[in-house]
């Protein structure tokens, strides 16, 4: 076992231990304003590692369950969408936020740019590591929400940071049955420290320009969340997209290395940048997820 793998394993063990000692304390409230004739919308609040109170949107189709479920992991942004997907007619859908995002910002407020380097010198103070704990907690909360009867099929999806969170969660939660990962954020991979990248990865370049002696520390600290390191543990089918000219989220060389490391990956490269196939891949992803969840797209 490599030292990088050992560091990564130790990191995840610490996160799991923190989650184990934190009561999720789930509170669910139906949102009558955003509920629709075909599905109900709920506001879900729960506690993650470190006592951070988090928020998620949850939609539940009308009719008899059990339903398959889809968790959309948060993008790198201050706001996470309310649920919009053609699968919401047939599947329970959860849009989970991480600490620092709107509605989950009671104790940490993320800044953009800024979140990628907030507390980066010390692992225990690095805000974004908490987002990985929050992603695991979201899947656990979905299983324990008690509102909707679930069939057992649980897919994860996300773009950029959300894609990396989805892959990391799938590596740790055997309840996950499939992952659609669009342009996973290269955070933790050495390529993310290249100069001349666009935001959000450029935040790392900004930090290292101001703190040139910290490069080794930063590279070592971030390596525990390198998606390539945990890829082998994702024992579920993955659909992954990348843009051939992406210089801000998912650099092509990183994407190719990650796809090769995932045991079962349908890897699609598109002629473009961070949009990773955009509308065309959106259709591919929708059909792929529908097939994995056993539902039809409305």
């Amino acid at each position: 076992m490599t030292s990088a793998q050992q560091r990564s394993d130790a990191f995840w063990e610490r996160i799991e231990a923190q989650l184990a000692e934190t009561d999720a304390d789930i509170a669910i409230e139906r949102d009558g304003f955003y509920s629709q004739p075909e599905w109900d919308v709920y506001r879900v609040r729960y506690t993650s590692a470190g006592g951070h109170r988090l928020f998620a949107w949850l939609s539940v189709p009308h009719g008899d369950g059990p339903f398959p479920a889809l968790v959309r992991m948060p993008d790198y942004a201050s706001v996470h969408d309310i649920i919009y997907t053609p699968l919401r007619h047939r599947a329970v859908v959860m849009n989970a936020t991480h600490r620092g995002q709107r509605n989950s910002d009671g104790s940490v407020q993320a800044s953009y740019p800024g979140l990628l380097t907030d507390g980066i010198e010390i692992a225990a103070e690095y805000t974004l590591f908490g987002a990985y704990a929050d992603a695991l907690r979201a899947v656990d909360v979905l299983g324990g929400q008690g509102i909707a009867e679930l069939s057992g099929a649980v897919a994860l999806t996300g773009a950029g940071l959300g894609a990396s969170l989805a892959l990391a969660t799938a590596a740790r939660r055997p309840t996950v049955s499939a992952v659609a990962a669009d342009t996973p954020l290269a955070l933790g991979h050495p390529a993310a420290l290249e100069p001349g990248l666009g935001y959000p990865l450029a935040e790392l370049g900004d930090y290292l320009r101001a703190n040139p002696r910290s490069e080794g520390t930063v590279e070592s600290l971030l390596s525990v969340v390198n998606p390539v390191t945990t890829a082998r543990a994702v024992q579920r089918p993955v659909l992954m997209s990348a843009g051939s000219f992406d210089r801000s989220l998912c650099l092509l060389a990183f994407a190719e290395e990650l796809a090769a490391a995932l045991p079962e990956c349908d890897f699609r490269v598109y002629d473009g940048a961070a949009e990773g196939g955009g509308h065309i891949h959106g259709q591919v992803r929708g059909e792929w997820l529908a097939a994995r969840l056993g539902v039809e797209i409305s």
């Binding site: 304003f33 629709q36 942004a77 309310i82 800044s111 900004d206 930090y207 101001a210 509308h279």
Partner: protein, 313 residues
Amino acid sequence: MATKADLKSFVTEVTCPDDFDRFWQGVRSELDGIPLEARTEPDPLRSTEVVKVYQATYRSLGGLEIFAWYALPAVGDGPFPAILHLPGYKSEPALRRDWGAKGVAVLSVAVRGKLPSSGEFNPGYPGLLTSGVEDRDTYGYKGVISDCVRGVDFLLSRPEIDAERVYCCGSSQGGGLTLITSALRPEIKAGVAGYPFLCCFPESMRMLRSYPYDELSCYQRAYPDRAEQMLGTLRYFDAVNFTPRIKCPMVVGIAMEDEVCPPETSYAAYRLLGGERELWLFPETGHGNAHEYPARERAWLEERIGVAQVVAS
């Protein structure tokens, strides 16, 4: 997928209120009575050899302090041409350092409700589109549009900016705000509006079930007795009522498979443009993700700004 025939045959039901210009002149007068209090704070972490980045603030409607990223060329003293960059509905204001090397300043505005301009007005996302929609004077977008209008005031107040060369661009909500701001501020010399939001509210609500427009449908379902009132307010904020008032050259970019801003509604705004106009259609493309769009936007603005001249001088 929308076809060109769909675009051309679409006719909006949105009409312009008789007192539309009077209302917006009143807003301008209200803004003129508020001291701008423009401030800039250097941000060395985000600055590079070619661009100096500042955190800027100024006062807008209701006296709210509005934040913006202000990126100036590091080489030369100006006066520089400037771009007012307007944000999407839920996305962060972009820190545009890419124009600095070309001798162009960029002010990227975090309109009220967005971090970090959300201290006194914070309706949330979803939430902004229906915030105060019962009345044109309480509607959140009266403030949002004012924040963009005041962004122009900020640029015109700066000695390092060439007041004769102010441009505007943005996508999605930023596209709609580009159209609206360019109508209200004739100082803007040209603009690019990508996938514009805020066009043809009644039809957009009916054509789509995606957010943000679905917020309005939720409102209509929750308060059916106020639906007419809501639509009455929205007429004062619909980009199709602003575009005939735009006199500068303007591009509208439309994704033909746009699932957030119906292509027909964006085209309706384009068709009513009062000045020189250019249409970019992107087939097999969804909202905001035409991969050639950023390069086209850049090239078009560079030509209008005369970037080669800027660099040479």
